[in-house]
């Protein structure tokens, strides 16, 4: 009952927290002497005990949705720390169960399943406590799956407990749930919505499976079990096809889309999908937020694949000229509508790789990690990356003398390098046009304002947009802009994308006047 108020007396006090932490430390010492199977069983029991004891705290923190007090932050970090400790114990026990004879009450497959279940908790609580998924989770999950595959037990059905519910599932399905949670943890979902998403993924996990061979006919995610730096990433078919590595696997997104359709259909039929879990008591708005998030994520993956495939096949229909950009190069980045508007289009800066960011305290150089038609990956120093938030507007000059690429922060995730953060940018346009426009204000007078025009892909122009500052945007206000010597009047209609300080709105052209 996430929305049910939690009585503060139900929350663990410092002494109780310390007591639980000490129990885990004692368990870590004692399980080293247990048979591997018994060690797995003991960690599993410790997990259940911890979840029972911390239930009220977890419910309180998820219901709060944001960490309101320092106490909340400390409590969520403590919960995350406990899960990490349990993960470490489960991982060690799992490895031992494969190294020696599988002795004791639990099997090696159950050890792998336990590692996956706790890994998912770590992903969630790292996110809730404001951190990002660390490579430890990927390392544990990748290795547990590899071990299970070697013993051919990854597809065997076993009984697993996730929160308070028992599931008949497989190690591979649990792995996919964890890795999908990890992929989506870089986005903008609040704790409540992330819990709903977890319930859905748990429901869907048995409908998903990894394949050895990629398909060129459907969108897929790829994962390399030997690469702990990356989780699931969009798969781009290569031309000509390259042989698939031993540790590479693929996940078709068609089953995920079908499951999402099922969830939507349940709401059409008046039921809260899937009918169990924490989401049952949450508002419809939270569920709709998850639907919109997933639709956007799946579409991003589709767009990435389509664009990358077009490029690979030499059929790119890029509006700007395509240039070979070297990755790992320093690029100029501007942050926020005001800075972009003031500096990114300045001709004197066009031939420099010096970016902006001084106002928000960005001090270090930004490197380009990867690039595609639909997105950019930037590497920023952790300290700088903390100043950026999901949905912040950015402009990136990839090369001296070229127009900036305009986009917004779609996700943040950790890099293996100790102080690096990967910033995923969704590209809005590679050829923005800055204009000084006029808009009719509240006093019914024309007033100058700045706008960044974005040409949409549709030839009829109905996908064209203008990016305005938050303070200048008034829904359905009349705006005038001069293009190619003629004045066009248009209405700034509905918001298509938005973030802190900016709105990207649909253009509805109504008049073409002579200059």
């Amino acid at each position: 009952m996430i929305n049910a108020p939690v009585n503060s007396s139900q929350l663990l006090n410092e002494t109780e927290q310390r007591e639980l932490s000490q129990k885990h430390q004692a368990l870590e010492v004692s399980v080293a002497n247990f048979k591997a199977g018994d060690a797995i069983d003991s960690v599993s029991q410790a997990l259940r005990y911890f979840e029972d004891r911390s239930r009220a705290d977890r419910q309180h923190l998820i219901a709060a949705n944001t960490l309101k007090t320092k106490g909340d932050l400390i409590a969520s970090e403590w919960i995350c720390g406990r899960y990490r400790h349990l993960l470490s114990m489960a991982f060690t026990a799992m490895l031992r169960s494969f190294d020696g004879v599988a002795e004791g009450r639990a099997s090696p497959a159950q050890g792998c399943a336990l590692v996956m279940v706790i890994s998912a908790h770590v992903v969630k609580w790292r996110k809730y406590s404001g951190g990002r998924t660390d490579t430890v989770v990927r390392e544990c999950a990748h290795l547990a799956l590899q071990k299970a595959q070697l013993q051919r037990v990854e597809g065997g059905v076993l009984t697993t407990r996730i929160d308070d519910r028992v599931h008949e599932t497989t190690v591979e399905a649990l792995y996919l749930r964890t890795m999908l949670l990890e992929r989506f943890s870089g986005g903008s979902l609040s704790p409540k919505r992330f819990e709903i998403l977890d319930t859905w993924l748990t429901t869907w996990m048995d409908a998903m499976w990894l394949t050895r061979e990629p398909s060129t006919l459907e969108p897929m995610l790829a994962i390399n079990l030997a690469d702990i730096e990356r989780g699931l990433i969009p798969y781009v078919p290569l031309v000509p096809p390259m042989p698939v590595g031993e540790s590479e696997f693929f996940l078709s997104l068609r089953p995920v889309k079908r499951q999402l359709d099922r969830a939507i259909q349940a709401f059409h039929q008046g039921t809260i999908y899937p009918g169990w879990g924490v989401g049952v008591t949450m508002k419809i708005e939270e569920h709709v937020g998850v639907i919109e998030f997933l639709e956007r994520e799946l579409q991003l993956i589709d767009e990435f694949r389509n664009a990358a495939t077009d490029v690979a096949q030499g059929q790119a229909k890029l509006r700007g000229k395509r240039v070979p950009i070297g990755v790992n190069t320093i690029v100029a980045v501007y942050f926020g509508f005001n800075e972009i508007s003031a500096q990114a289009f300045d001709m004197t800066r066009a031939h420099s790789v010096a970016g902006g960011g001084a106002e928000i305290g960005i001090r270090n150089a930004v490197r380009l990690l990867d690039i595609s038609e639909g997105g950019l990956g930037l590497e920023m120093v952790d300290e700088d990356a903390r100043r950026l938030h999901v949905n912040d507007l950015v402009a990136v000059r990839l090369e001296k003398g070229r127009a900036v690429v305009l986009g917004f922060v779609a996700r943040k995730s950790t890099l293996q390098r100790p102080t690096g953060t990967l910033i995923g940018i969704k590209v809005l346009t590679k050829t923005p046009l800055k204009l000084i426009m006029d808009r009719v204000n509240d006093a019914n007078q024309w007033q100058p304002c700045e706008g960044l025009l974005v040409a949409g892909l549709a030839a009829d122009g109905f996908a064209d947009s203008v990016i305005m500052s938050e303070k200048d945007y008034v829904a359905n206000s009349l705006v005038a802009a001069t293009l190619s010597g003629r004045v066009y009047e248009f209405y700034a209609r509905r918001v298509r994308e938005q973030g802190n300080g900016w709105r990207m709105v649909a253009i509805d052209a109504v008049n073409r006047l002579a200059e």
Partner: protein, 185 residues
């Protein structure tokens, strides 16, 4: 004594009210209907009175087109399916759904729509066109998407959207962007 006549059979509901188009058991019990309507209101914010507005094919098409313009084709399709479920007699919305299935290259969905449409509109003149499009779709989805019949089922065509000024604006914007790129080189 005259024997009591057997009770008359229950009245058959017209297909338009009976058809459970996309699996929603119709009519819904009040508590489920409340969740459904709340969902629609939250999902499609422009719809404060969903039961009334879902029966207005023109508005639905207009919103669906806007969603396509905003790169949200899944939402456009979902809204249209909700409207068809609410009132399956909105023939124009069925045509729009056919165009979606073809654009997605989804033979299964197209076939299912054909089955439901022919139940709803027995002997409709467009059934012949639908069968033709279905045949092409089975062979080549890209070719099917370019068929003139199919183009006429798209929301913009069904709405007869006037777009000269918008297109002129778009062309001028493209020219200006080209000039800007030239200046930078």
């Amino acid at each position: 004594m005259t024997p009591t006549p057997p009770p008359p059979p229950p009245a058959r509901a017209s297909l338009a009210t009976k058809l459970s188009v996309f699996g929603t058991p119709w009519p819904l019990p009040p508590e489920l209907l409340r969740v459904r309507l709340k969902y629609i209101t939250v999902r499609f914010l422009q719809m404060p009175e969903p039961r009334v507005l879902l029966r207005n094919a023109k508005d639905i098409l207009r919103w669906a087109q806007q969603m396509e313009d905003d790169n949200m084709p899944r939402s456009a399709k979902e809204l249209t399916r909700l409207a068809v479920e609410e009132d399956p007699s909105q023939r124009v919305l069925w045509l729009y759904l056919f165009s979606h299935a073809v654009r997605d290259g989804d033979n299964n969905e197209f076939g299912e729509l054909v089955r439901l449409f022919s139940q709803q509109f027995v002997d409709d003149v467009v059934l012949e066109d639908i069968a033709h499009v279905g045949g092409v779709l089975a062979r080549d989805a890209r070719q099917a998407a370019e068929m003139p019949t199919l183009q006429s089922w798209r929301a913009a065509a069904l709405l007869a959207r006037e777009g000269q000024t918008q297109r002129a604006f778009h062309d001028a914007l493209q020219r200006e962007i080209g000039a800007q790129s030239g200046n930078l080189q």
